[in-house]
Symmetry: C2
Subunit: 110 residues, 2 copies
Amino acid sequence: MYKINGSIWIEGERGAFIGSGRVVLLENIKKSGSISEAAKSMKMSYRQAWELIDSMNKQSQKPLVEKTSGGAGGGGTIVTKEGERVIKLFKELQNNFRKFNETQSKKLTF
Amino acid sequence: MYKINGSIWIEGERGAFIGSGRVVLLENIKKSGSISEAAKSMKMSYRQAWELIDSMNKQSQKPLVEKTSGGAGGGGTIVTKEGERVIKLFKELQNNFRKFNETQSKKLTF
DNA sequence: TTTCGTTATGTATTTATTTAAATAACGCCT
DNA sequence: AGGCGTTATTTAAATAAATACATAACGAAA
């Protein structure tokens, strides 16, 4: 039996802006309050997590996260209101895509 | 300005079955009559082309291509009726996906 | 001023993926 | 029988991508 699968993302001029991996990262940052903790929980290298966040923030009009270094606890990272909005928006897109795939799958004649 | 992009494919039990790259390969085989010529025209290695074809044929009930080695001209590969049908089916899916993306893009509020 | 855990960044290492090269089998044709 | 160009397959090489490691900056708190 066959099924349709796919992936979807939002692009800016400089390539990928928001995709499923980036949204999971944002959600883990929201939970943990830090990039390093989020990366660890996803078994992603800190560097990659940092680069994804950097890519998103540079392409967005308003920053999706705000980072502080130094201070009590060493600093941390929070997801902004705009970040929350983008997470929600992408999840809706993803859900629509899932429905699209289900509909299309029914048309398959094998 | 942002836009939605994505990729879509048909999966079997053993992973990818048909996707855009595989369809282009099938079309080039149809044009040229050989895997090696098709690979060359796409700047793809023969090995990769062969593996993609092998993967498709193994997953399909009916073969999508038929290959002969030896003989006049060394042999060759032709796309079967089933192969043609799959090409057409995937292109329709891809077109629907393009329309989906256009619709969803209009909903983006950035 | 020292400590702490985080962000930030460069460099090296490792891992994964892709391509290249070499070789054999095939079967029609001259 | 020998030549030809294709399919088929193994092994080596090259390229790309991800990870690991090392180090510095930061700033509140003890």
